[in-house]
């Protein structure tokens, strides 16, 4: 029963980060390519982050009803900031000499983006995804309040019944999960950029 709750929590986090990447990466690229949209995109994701997570989930529940869909939508919106932001910054910070060389040799804007800029911005983008993952593991605790389950329900139950063991179990599971993913992703990143890093 406890294992299935951990898996449920993991499922929520995984789906949220996945969709956050699917939405956030293009938004970050868009912000980089288009000066006008840049301000709007960065502003919106920042505003989203300032809404308290519980309130955000509550608002979404009014529209989509209680359940996992609401949780995932909420968590996606909440984890957009680090992904969009890091994608944008990573692309902006690619060495100007490299960008100019690419342009001067006749690579198109999209070719430069795909062949050079995104690969070079990747460590930064990946860091954004890592931050989003670790944050989401914590924020997903609120899922239980809108009928999404996960480790939040164990902690909630522990609080209601004043069961210290349950609270500690839920908290420890969350912490271990967060630390594990953090370290795993740092390791993966290190492997991916090992050779070409400058």
């Amino acid at each position: 029963m406890n294992i299935s709750i951990i898996l449920e929590h993991f499922y929520l986090v995984f789906m949220s980060v996945l969709f956050s990447v699917v939405v956030g990466l293009p938004l970050g690229v868009l912000a980089y390519l288009n000066q006008t949209l840049q301000k709007i995109v960065l502003w919106v994701v920042e505003i989203l982050q300032t809404i308290p997570a519980l309130a955000l989930l509550g608002l979404i529940m009014i529209i989509f009803g209680a359940g996992k869909l609401t949780v995932i939508i909420g968590l996606v919106l909440y984890s957009l900031l680090p992904i969009v932001h890091n994608t944008f910054i990573g692309l902006e910070n690619v060495d100007s000499g490299i960008k100019e060389a690419g342009k001067g040799m006749g690579l198109t804007k999209y070719d430069r983006l795909i062949s050079v800029e995104i690969p070079l911005a990747f460590p930064m983008i990946f860091t954004g995804i890592r931050i989003a993952t670790v944050t989401t593991i914590g924020v997903a605790v609120f899922a239980t309040s809108v009928g999404g389950g996960g480790l939040g329900s164990i902690i909630n139950q522990g609080i209601r019944t004043q069961n210290m063991e349950l609270i500690i179990f839920g908290t420890l599971a969350l912490m271990i999960m967060a630390i594990f993913f953090d370290m795993l992703m740092i390791w993966v990143n290190g492997r991916l950029v090992k050779r070409s890093s400058n």
Partner: protein
């Protein structure tokens, strides 16, 4: 042939290119030179449309380049920049193959080209092709930068201060290599630099620019013999080994970093300063900033007391030179004196600088073998 016709460019109110017209013949090695802000880089970058002129037209082989798709245009023009700009996420082979791959050359053809080009600069394909740029030295990276620009055999290659960031030794090796490549491949090369030595060594023709205009367009020999303006002469003198040394003055060789104190400074402060700066003498100034003489550490020791002001010690009047004096006279004075330096004075007797024995040696080396920096 590259032809500029009345090309103008402004940024805000600043005129960058002022009605520029000139031709570059096929196969010519043309060097654009001039003080910073003269428009040389803007001129270069308007050839591959990285910069669009406000007015005027640029033609390549009779075709107005503003009517050519910029991506297609750039793939036919090699481009080398000072920051090198190799793609760090790609191997050397992939970097060199960038443009050929986009022009749909076959894989085996790209490999063949890469191998051939690398052999031309004595870099073995087996050793380097699969390395990443970060595994190469700066000089090797820029060699690859040049090869990358040549890979799709473009008839024109643009180079924007390509060797500016390299150490002098590597720079001169690459200069030799580029001359060799130019002789062999007969490309039209347009090369931007601010180093007159480089221009004189490499160019078939030098275009000297100032404030967006061409001041002189001539072969190196012509420019050496008949520089069209004082600024060009100045550029030549600063960097050319064949500059006439008879009109050099004391001002050209003096060190402007020296330590001077007013007479009222305490002796203790002065000895501290000397210890900190590792010097054994100080220049002494009168209150009106005129030169009073020098005080050596030996004179201070002889004086005995560390209290009182430095003015209490009678300064030794070192031999002096006037700032506009011929350098040779200053050197003669330096030879004749037992002191380690000659003090150079302005016309109003304030201190302008000092000429030291090491300074003199460096200056003579520069005059003989060119600017060592």
């Amino acid at each position: 042939m590259i032809r500029f016709e009345n090309v103008r460019k402004k940024y805000g109110d600043t005129v960058i290119l002022d009605n520029l017209s000139f031709n570059i013949e096929p196969g010519e090695f043309v060097v654009l030179i001039g003080p910073s802000g003269c428009g040389k880089t803007t001129t270069l970058k308007s050839i591959n449309r990285l910069i669009t002129p406000d007015q005027g037209k640029i033609f390549i082989d009779g075709q107005d380049i503003s009517e050519v798709n910029p991506v297609k245009l750039r793939r036919k023009i090699g481009y080398v920049i000072q920051q090198i700009g190799l793609f760090p996420n790609m191997t050397i082979e992939q970097n060199i193959g960038i443009v050929p791959k986009r022009l749909k050359y076959s894989k085996s053809k790209i490999k063949e080209i890469t191998r051939e080009l690398m052999e031309m600069v004595d870099m073995s394909f087996e050793d380097y092709a699969h390395k990443y740029p970060s595994e190469l030295s700066g000089g090797q990276q820029q060699r690859i930068g040049v090869l990358r620009a040549l890979a799709a055999s473009p008839p024109i290659v643009l180079m924007d201060e390509p060797f500016g960031a390299l150490d002098p030794l590597t720079r001169s090796t690459l200069q030799d290599e580029i001359v060799k490549l130019h002789k062999k491949l007969k490309k039209t090369i347009v090369f931007v630099t601010h180093d007159m030595n480089e221009a004189l060594d490499l160019a078939d023709k030098i275009i000297f620019m100032e404030k967006g205009e061409i001041v002189q367009m001539a072969t190196p020999d012509e420019m050496l013999a008949h520089p069209a303006s004082a600024l060009i002469r100045d550029f030549m003198r600063k960097s050319s080994s064949s500059a006439d040394s008879s009109d050099l003055t004391a001002a050209d060789f003096m060190k402007t970093k020296f330590f001077s104190v007013y007479k009222k400074r305490s002796i203790r402060e002065c000895t501290d300063l000397m210890a900190r700066q590792h010097i054994d003498s100080l220049l002494i100034k009168n209150d009106d900033n005129t030169y009073a003489g020098i005080v050596t550490i030996r004179a201070i020791k002889k004086h005995g007391k560390s209290s009182g002001s430095i003015g209490d010690i009678t300064p030794h009047v070192n031999i002096t030179s006037n700032i506009s004096e011929n350098a040779k006279e200053s050197f003669d004075k330096l030879y004749a004196t037992d002191d380690n330096y000659v003090v150079v004075l302005e016309d109003d007797n304030t201190i302008a600088g000092i000429i030291t024995k090491t300074g003199m040696a460096t200056a003579m080396a520069d005059t003989l073998w060119g600017d060592m920096q």
